[in-house]
Symmetry: C2
Subunit: 430 residues, 2 copies
C-alpha cells in the first residue's frame, strides 16, 4: 500500500476549505535538499508522515488527513499548507503546536524553518473564550476613554522590600501613571513576599486614587507553578486587585489555558519574557505574531508587543502588524509581513503594550506608529528621571498629553518642567 | 546615588558561593557594542538592572543581589555569571527562566545569546522532587535489568482509529518491543478518542504480556490544558497504565511542575516536540542541556535527547553530554560542550530516550555511543519493515540483542530473517 502521500503533499490547485488550518512557514532546505522536498518534509512531519514508507498507513487516512502545500515561493522561502482540521484537537493549544510547531524545527533536512502565521478556522476560534475584558473592558475599568494608558514597572526589577515597592508605585500613580506593574522576574521573593507586597501596594493604590481622583491599578505578577499561580490570582482578586500578570512564555500554554478558565474575573496582562529565544531569528523559530494570536485566542487582555523605539528588537512593520492582528476584527493578508487573513468573529480585541527602553521623548513617535489604543510602559524612563519617580511619572504623562494634543514635546516642555528635565536627559525623537 | 552596579558587573576575581546560581551564556554583541558591555547588559537585564540609571536603586540591593560576571572569553563567546540565589524563588521554574532566559534574548545590544548551562545550588535542587522512578524504577517496572529498552511509536502519527491503534501496538509488543507510545501530536482526536484508545490498547497490552511472558507497557500522550491533562493521567492510572507521556515544550513549565506534583504514581515520559525552535542555533536560544536539566529537576523519568544517527539534528558530543547530565550523580565540567559542574545530590537519574529516524541498522552504533541505559525508539524503522510491524519489531529486538552480544548485525541477520530484511531495506551503519 503506497498511497499518494509520498508524492510530497504539493498540490498547487488545492483551495483551503472552511475546516482547514492554513499555516505559513518560511523554509530553508538543508544541504542537498530541494525546496519542494523540504516543504514536503515539513508537511509530513507536522501531520501524518514519517521518514520512510510504513505498512500501517491506509487510504482512508490519506484521504481525510493529508495536508496540502498549495503555495510555494522559493525566492521568498514561503510555503502555505492547508491542514485538515481533524488533525487538531479543538481547544488544545499544546497538541496543535506539537503538530505544526513540534518536531519540524529539528529535522536534518531543513536548515531553517519559521512558523509565520496560522489562520484558524472559525469552528476552532469558537472553542476559545478570548479576552474577558479586552480593550473596551480595560478602558472602562480605568475610566480612560481615548488616550493611551500609561504604566510603569517598579524598578529595580528585584531588591525592593514590599513597603519600598508600594512606595515607588504610589509615587508613580501620583505623578500620572494609570497602571503599575511588577517586573517579569518578581514573584514571591525572600525579601519581598507576594502577599505582603500585594497588600501594601493596593493600600497605597487606594490612597492614590483618593488623592488624584483617577482610577489607579496594580498588576501583580503571579507567575508560578499552576496552583500557586491560581492561588496568587485569587488572593489578588480577594484583596481588590483588578489585574493579574503572567509571564506567558515561561509559564507555557497548558497552564495559561487553564488559568484563563479558572481565574477569577481579573484583567490578564501577558508579559512575553523569553519569547525572543525563538521569535528573534527571521530564518528559524516562531513569529511573535503567532504568539500574539494564541494569546488573543486563549484570552489575555493585554500583551507586550514591542516598543519599536525601545531597547528590544522588533521592526516597526512587524510590531504594527501584531498590533493590527490583536486589535482588528477582520485581518487582511499582508504578504510582505507574512500575515495571513483572519476573521476573529466575536473575539474581543487585546490591548497592545509597548514597553522596554521607553522614555517621554519617545512617546509621540510611538503613538503615531501605533495609535491611541496602546498601553505605554516606562520603567527606567520614569524612575531614572533626575528628580525621581514622581517627577518621571509626571513627565511621561505630559508626553502622552502633548502627543494627544499634537503639540511638539519641546514646546510643551517649556511650561512643563518635569518633561523638560526628561528631555534634557534622554532627548526627544522626532 | 550611583552604586557600582553600573560598572557592568564584571569581577574576574569573584568566586561563586554555595548559594549562587552559576550560568554560562554564549554572547554575541550587537553592532558597535563591546563584548564586555554586551556581557554587562545580559547580567543586568537578567537580574536587577535596566537601561538607565534609576533613582530607586539602593546600596543594600546592589550589595545583596548584584550578579558577578567572573569569566569572560571573547574568542569562544563565553561568559559565566554568578547570580545570588535570592534572585530566584525556590521551586519556581518560570520565575527563574523569566530572569535568566527572559528579556535578555530580545535586547538590541546583543545579536545572539545562548543560555548554555545552569549550575544550581544544592538548596535549590533540594526543593524539587526529581524523578519518582528514574532508570532503576523503570527497569524494575519493565523487568529488564541491563539491555537498552526497545520502544515504538504507533504510526502513522494520526489517523488510526482506537482499535487500529491498539492492533498496531499489539503487533509491536508481540514482535519484541517493551514500550509502545503515542505520537507527540496524538491526544484525543475526533477519529481516536483518548479514553477509548487507552482501553483498547491496555487490553491488548495485557494479552501481549500473557503471550510473550514479558512485561509490556503503553505510554498514552496526555498533552492538554492542565486539568484535562491531569484527568487523562488519572484515567490512565485507573485503567492500569504505568505511564503518562507529556509534550514538555508545548505544555510548558508551570503545568509541568504542577503535573509532577499532582499526578498519580505514573512513569513520566517527556517528549520534547518544539524544542528545536530555540535549541537548534548554536548562537541564540537555550541549549537542550538546560531543558534536560530542568526535566530532571522537576522529575520526568524519561526524556528524548536525540538519536545521533537519526533524522533530527543534534551532534554526537552534545547528545552524549546530555546523556551524562541526566544519568550521572556528579557531572564534571566540560568546557568544549559548555557543560558546567553539577551535583545532583539525591536526584534520581532520568532515562535517555533516543528516537527519530532510527532503524535496526543503526542500533549498534547508537548503543556504542550512548551505553545500555537508553530507550531506543523506532517508528518508521519498525512499521516500515517490508513485512509489517510485527516483523519490524522483531528485527529491532534482534538488533538490540546482537548489539548486546557484540555480534555484527550482518552476521546475526543470517539466522534472523526479519533483521536481514530490515538491513536489506535500510542498510546497516558500521
Amino acid at each position: 500500500m503506497k498511497p499518494s502521500i509520498y508524492s510530497n503533499f504539493i498540490d498547487r490547485s488545492y483551495r483551503p476549505s472552511r475546516k482547514d488550518f492554513v499555516v505559513e512557514f518560511s523554509v530553508r532546505p538543508g544541504r542537498g535538499v530541494s525546496f519542494e522536498k523540504a516543504a514536503g518534509m515539513v508537511a509530513g512531519e507536522s501531520s501524518i508522515g514519517t521518514w520512510t514508507k510504513i505498512s500501517t498507513l491506509n487510504e482512508r487516512i490519506v484521504r481525510t488527513l493529508k495536508p496540502s502545500i498549495f503555495y510555494l515561493n522559493k525566492k521568498s522561502h514561503t510555503i502555505k499548507i492547508a491542514y485538515p482540521g481533524d488533525l487538531f484537537e479543538p481547544g488544545n493549544i499544546p497538541q496543535m503546536l506539537s503538530s505544526i510547531a513540534g518536531n519540524v524545527f529539528g529535522m536534518k533536512g531543513i536548515s531553517g524553518l519559521r512558523l509565520e502565521d496560522i489562520d484558524f478556522p472559525n469552528y476552532f476560534i469558537k472553542k476559545f473564550k478570548g479576552p474577558r475584558f479586552g480593550i473596551k473592558g480595560v478602558r472602562k475599568k480605568l475610566r480612560v476613554k481615548k488616550r493611551p494608558l500609561l504604566g510603569t514597572i517598579v524598578k529595580p526589577k528585584l531588591g525592593l522590600t514590599a513597603k519600598e515597592h508600594a512606595g515607588v508605585a504610589f509615587n508613580a500613580w501620583i505623578g500620572g501613571c494609570d497602571i503599575v506593574k511588577d517586573d517579569e522576574n518578581l514573584s514571591s521573593m525572600k525579601f519581598n513576599k507576594f502577599g505582603k507586597r500585594l497588600k501594601e501596594t493596593l493600600r497605597l493604590r487606594d490612597r492614590a486614587e483618593k488623592i488624584t481622583g483617577e482610577r489607579k491599578e496594580y498588576m501583580p505578577n503571579v507567575t508560578a507553578p499552576f496552583k500557586e499561580m491560581l492561588g496568587r490570582a485569587k488572593t489578588a482578586r480577594s484583596l481588590g486587585s483588578a489585574y493579574a500578570m503572567v509571564d506567558i512564555v515561561t509559564v507555557g500554554w497548558s497552564a495559561l489555558q487553564q488559568f484563563r478558565s479558572d481565574c477569577p474575573p481579573l484583567i490578564l496582562h501577558a508579559h512575553r519574557a523569553g519569547h525572543a529565544a525563538f521569535t528573534r531569528s527571521k530564518d528559524h523559530g516562531i513569529s511573535m505574531l503567532v504568539l500574539a494570536k494564541l494569546c488573543r485566542l486563549i484570552g489575555m487582555d493585554q500583551l507586550h508587543v514591542g516598543a519599536i523605539v525601545g531597547k528590544m528588537e522588533g521592526a516597526k512593520e512587524e510590531v504594527q502588524a501584531i498590533g493590527e492582528e490583536i486589535e482588528d476584527r477582520v485581518v487582511q493578508p499582508d504578504r510582505k509581513n507574512h500575515v495571513l487573513a483572519e476573521n476573529w468573529l466575536k473575539t474581543e480585541p487585546m490591548f497592545a503594550v509597548c514597553s522596554g527602553g521607553l522614555h517621554p521623548g519617545k512617546v509621540p513617535l510611538l503613538v503615531r506608529a501605533m495609535g491611541n489604543d496602546i498601553i505605554i510602559q516606562m520603567g527606567g524612563g520614569i524612575h531614572g528621571h533626575p528628580s525621581g519617580t514622581l517627577a518621571g511619572s509626571r513627565a511621561a504623562r505630559y508626553a502622552v498629553e502633548a502627543s494627544l494634543k499634537g503639540i511638539p514635546l519641546k514646546h510643551f516642555a517649556k511650561t512643563h518642567l518635569e518633561l523638560d528635565s526628561a528631555i534634557k536627559l534622554w532627548g526627544a525623537l522626532k
